[in-house]
Symmetry: C2
Subunit: 218 residues, 2 copies
DNA sequence: ACGCCGCCGTAACGTACGGTACGGTACGGT
DNA sequence: ACCGTACCGTACCGTACGTTACGGCGGCGT
C-alpha cells in the first residue's frame, strides 16, 4: 500500500471534499475529540475509505486543515491609483476581513486543534495553520505597506516590524481570548469600528502626516 | 467518597506541591498527552494518591494550572511620585515582564493545554488561564493607566480599550506563533527592545505630548 | 452477461490509558 | 505490642478508539 497519495497532489474527488467538509463541521462541534467513526458516519462513508484516502487520523486532520486553508485564499490588492484614501481603505478592509475570519467558529476550531498538536507532531498542523494564518496575512499585507512606503505615505525601516505592529493593533487580545474559550460577541459594527481604529492608530504611528489626523482615542 | 476537597482549599501539602511541579514539568515536556501513570512515576507517588488528592485527571490538570498561576503573582505598582518618566518605566517594565512570561516554556505549555481543553470542558482550564493571563494583566496594568489619566499624562475615554491596545502593541503575533509551534528566539535584548518600542508607540497614541517624542519607527 | 473495482457498512483486533483494588511498608499514637 | 493512617508499587479492569479485515453491492469495461 502507498497511503495518502491524494494529499500530496491537489486532486481531491468531490466525494473527498464532502468528507473533509464533514470533518470540518465535526471539528467545529467537538474539537479534536472527533473520531474516525464519527467522521465516517457523518460523511456516510466507510472507515476503509478514510484510511485509503488519508492514510491515518493525522493525515485526515492535515487534509482537513489544508482544505479549509485552500478555501480562504483572499484576493490581493491591485497597485494602481494610490493615495492616502486607498491606503486607508485597503488597511481597513484588510483588518476587518482578518477580524472576521479570526473570530469565526471555523478559525477558532482549527487554531485550537493546531495549537493542541503543535507540541510534538509529525505532520505539524501548527506549521500549516501558521503558514495559512499569520504568515499568509503578512504576505498579503506587505505589498500594500511597501507601496505606502514607496509613495511616501508611510515611513518605517522594517516592513516586517510594521506589519507585526499592525497585526497587534488589529488582533489585540481577541484571538487568545477566543481560543481560551472566552465568550465573545464580535458584531459587524464592532469589527468595522475596530478595523477603523486599528488603521488610524497605525497611520498615526507610521504615516507621514501633513495634517493632524482624526481621533485615535477610543 | 468526597473527592478532591484539597483543591478547593489552599491547603497543599509539600508532597502535593512536589507532585504538581512534576506534573508541570511533564506538561512542558509532553503537552497534555501526559498520563496519570507518568505523573505518578515522575513524582514517585502512587496513582491511588493522585486520585485521592485530585479526584480525576481533570482535577489534577486544574490544580496544576492553578498552582502555577499562584506562583506568578506579580507585585503591583506603587502610586507615589508620578511622572512621565515613572509612567514610561512602569509600562516598559510591565511589557518586558509580560513578554518574558509569555515566551517561557511553562506559559506556552499551559496555554496549549488550556486552549486544547477550551472547547468542551467542565473544569474549564481556559477560564483559569484567561483569568490568570490576560485578565490578571489588565487588572495589574489598569491602575497605572488610570494614574496616567488622572495626572494628565495620558488621554483616553475607555481604560479597557487603552489596555487592549497596549496588549496588542506588546504581544503582537508573538503568542500565537509560539502556540502554533513557530521556533522563536526571544532574547533578553529583543524583549527589552520590544518593550521600549511598544511603550513609545503607546505613548505616541495615548500620551499628551508637549514635546515630539523619539523614534517610534522600528 | 460477467468479472473487476471502488465503496459502504460492520464486525473484529490491539492497545493505550483512566480509574480501582490490593498487598506491603513506615510511622505515630496508645 | 497493637492498631489506624498514609502512602508506595503494581496488577488489574473497562472502555474508547485507531486500525484492519471482510462481506455485500452497484457501476463500468469488455
Amino acid at each position: 500500500m502507498q497511503p495518502a497519495v491524494e494529499v500530496n497532489e491537489n486532486a481531491l474527488t468531490e466525494r473527498q471534499k464532502d468528507v473533509l467538509d464533514a470533518a470540518l463541521a465535526l471539528l467545529v462541534e467537538a474539537g479534536d475529540t472527533l473520531t474516525m467513526t464519527s467522521v465516517a458516519r457523518r460523511a456516510s462513508c466507510s472507515k476503509e475509505s478514510l484510511y485509503k484516502w488519508f492514510g491515518d487520523r493525522d493525515g485526515l486532520l492535515t487534509a482537513t486543515v489544508q482544505w479549509q486553508a485552500a478555501k480562504v485564499r483572499g484576493v490581493p490588492v491591485d497597485p494602481e491609483a494610490f493615495s492616502l484614501k486607498s491606503l486607508t481603505s485597503g488597511l481597513e478592509r484588510f483588518a476587518s476581513d482578518w477580524l472576521r475570519v479570526l473570530s469565526g467558529t471555523i478559525s477558532v476550531a482549527l487554531n485550537r486543534v493546531a495549537v493542541g498538536h503543535a507540541g510534538s507532531d509529525k505532520h505539524d498542523l501548527g506549521a500549516i495553520v501558521l503558514e495559512n494564518g499569520p504568515f499568509a496575512m503578512a504576505r498579503r499585507l506587505k505589498p500594500l505597506l511597501q507601496l505606502g512606503l514607496d509613495t511616501g505615505l508611510l515611513a518605517f525601516n522594517d516592513t516586517d516590524e510594521a506589519f507585526r505592529t499592525f497585526f497587534g493593533l488589529v488582533v489585540r487580545d481577541v484571538q487568545i481570548r477566543l481560543l481560551l474559550g472566552d465568550r465573545f460577541e464580535l458584531t459587524e459594527a464592532a469589527i468595522d469600528r475596530d478595523a477603523r481604529r486599528a488603521t488610524q492608530q497605525f497611520l498615526a504611528l507610521y504615516g507621514v502626516h501633513k495634517t493632524a489626523d482624526m481621533a485615535t482615542k477610543s
